[in-house]
Symmetry: C2
Subunit: 257 residues, 2 copies
DNA sequence: TCGGCCGTTGCGCACTCTGCAACGTCCATT
DNA sequence: AATGGACGTTGCAGAGTGCGCAACGGCCGA
């Protein structure tokens, strides 16, 4: 691994917390000011950081553009979107699409609820991986050793009394989810918000994405939301079908890791 | 400028065009495969690139997260959003918020039209800088030398017959915009889409952002859209007021050990 | 079975990055 | 108005680090 690049890239999450001046960056990186300056200059030339009038640095414009182009290259998203929109049209609730990547699960698309009370989330924001319904689906599909390894590495924050408490409970939950082919989050992240989710599979049967419908208690009860499960599953299957269909005959996949 | 970091960062826009394998990356960078590999590994460890099952690289998840955190740190956005939503509520049209940064203008917020026919745009996407109404406002406020330098550097694509043809016309337009304090784009980017825009100013009077209302011909005529100008300007002024008010003259930041 | 393609590894050389120290500037303080 | 300090910037010499080369190994198609 390249030390120089490593240091430069470490600046980005640092600046994500808010603007910082040269000295602060150098301190937090543990390098000399002149070094930090050179790195920041390079990042600047690539548009990844921006220098404000007060000379402090913050994350730059090209970062948005890159993230944007990146998300547009995800073909699952393209294919799923009309289905998500239709489901939102029909139910009125917030619909999410999420993928798994290197131990993180993040939303890559979202259709907002029609109701005034909405849940907070953002495309690109990593989800609460130990409780979110979509996360359970995505992780439940991992090969068993990976699943165990990941579960062991995770933190298990107690967002609510119903949050997954530890790795054992999580693995148990994943097994259940894997078995039944759908997942829920009933107040595990925020007390008053429930979700039901279903997996989207590629041609080889592996889970490539997951979608969910979320709604707060004040709009519909958990039971009413669960009644939507068949609809959610059908939607996910429709997306899976579209996705497998339009994806050209994939090169052979090595199943055993 | 750091060579290593420079090379590493050059990989990102390259991957933004689509996934690529190691050889392609090395070729396009003009370096040896082993070098490209090391750079990609470093980028990977920071989550900026992701390696798919077919071993090809594409942009990674953390990029989204970073862009997300970045946009949330823009306080103009925070302050402007309710106003934009209100304007959308009242007019039904698409409302945009944009800022200028290092010769690029990009949308940082958007409220979607209520009408079924919508214009295509995305938060984070750089706008057509030579024709967009918000771009004119932001660039018109630059000091004259910078304005000239930037105008000279730009390309002037002929999106439509009404697109700004060259630097001279652009500078002329900027002068007009600067004078009148608002801007329009009448079919300059896409034949059937019109915009009206107004500037948002900081406490020192400089333009820090610009907002616009856009609608296609099929929904409202250009005249009808122009009739919204006073409303748009009032909204922009309200945001400017909020922004100047809530931004303290200077904030001091302490560094916790 | 063989050949080619691609990703990966170890290594020695030298290029490039590093930290230091000194300078210029701006601002707050006396 | 003068002084001190904080901060960003620059040039430099040393060495640490990234560079390309060459060889290996796995995979796939011939």
């Amino acid at each position: 691994m390249s030390q120089t690049v490593d240091r430069a890239l470490s600046i980005l999450p640092l600046l994500a917390q808010g603007p910082a001046d040269l000295g602060q960056v150098a301190d937090r990186l543990g390098v000399h000011k002149s070094t930090a300056l050179r790195l920041l200059r390079t990042l600047h030339e690539h548009g990844l950081v921006y220098r404000q009038q007060d000379q402090r640095y913050r994350l730059g414009a090209r970062l948005f553009a890159l993230a944007q182009e990146a998300v547009e290259n995800l073909d699952v998203r393209e294919i799923a979107h009309p289905h998500l929109a239709a489901l939102n049209e029909r139910t009125g609730h917030t619909v999410h699409l999420a993928v798994h990547e290197d131990g993180e699960v993040l939303y890559i698309d979202k259709v907002e609820s029609r109701y005034p009370v909405r849940m907070y989330s953002r495309i690109g924001k990593p989800v609460a991986i130990t409780v979110a319904a979509v996360a359970k689906l995505l992780l439940a599909d991992l090969p068993e050793p990976e699943r165990r390894a990941l579960a062991a590495k995770l933190d298990y924050p107690r967002y609510t009394p119903r949050s997954t408490p530890d790795a054992a409970a999580f693995l148990q939950e994943l097994a259940t989810v894997r078995e039944q082919g759908w997942a829920t989050d009933l107040g595990g992240h925020e007390e008053s918000i429930n979700c039901v989710a279903a997996p989207i599979r590629g041609a080889d049967g592996r889970v490539v994405a997951a979608m969910s419908v979320s709604a707060p208690n004040v709009v519909v009860t958990a039971e009413e939301l669960l009644a939507l499960l068949p609809l959610v599953r059908r939607t996910a299957e429709a997306i899976s079908h579209d996705y497998s269909g339009t994806t050209p005959p994939k090169e052979t996949e090595e199943t055993p890791a």
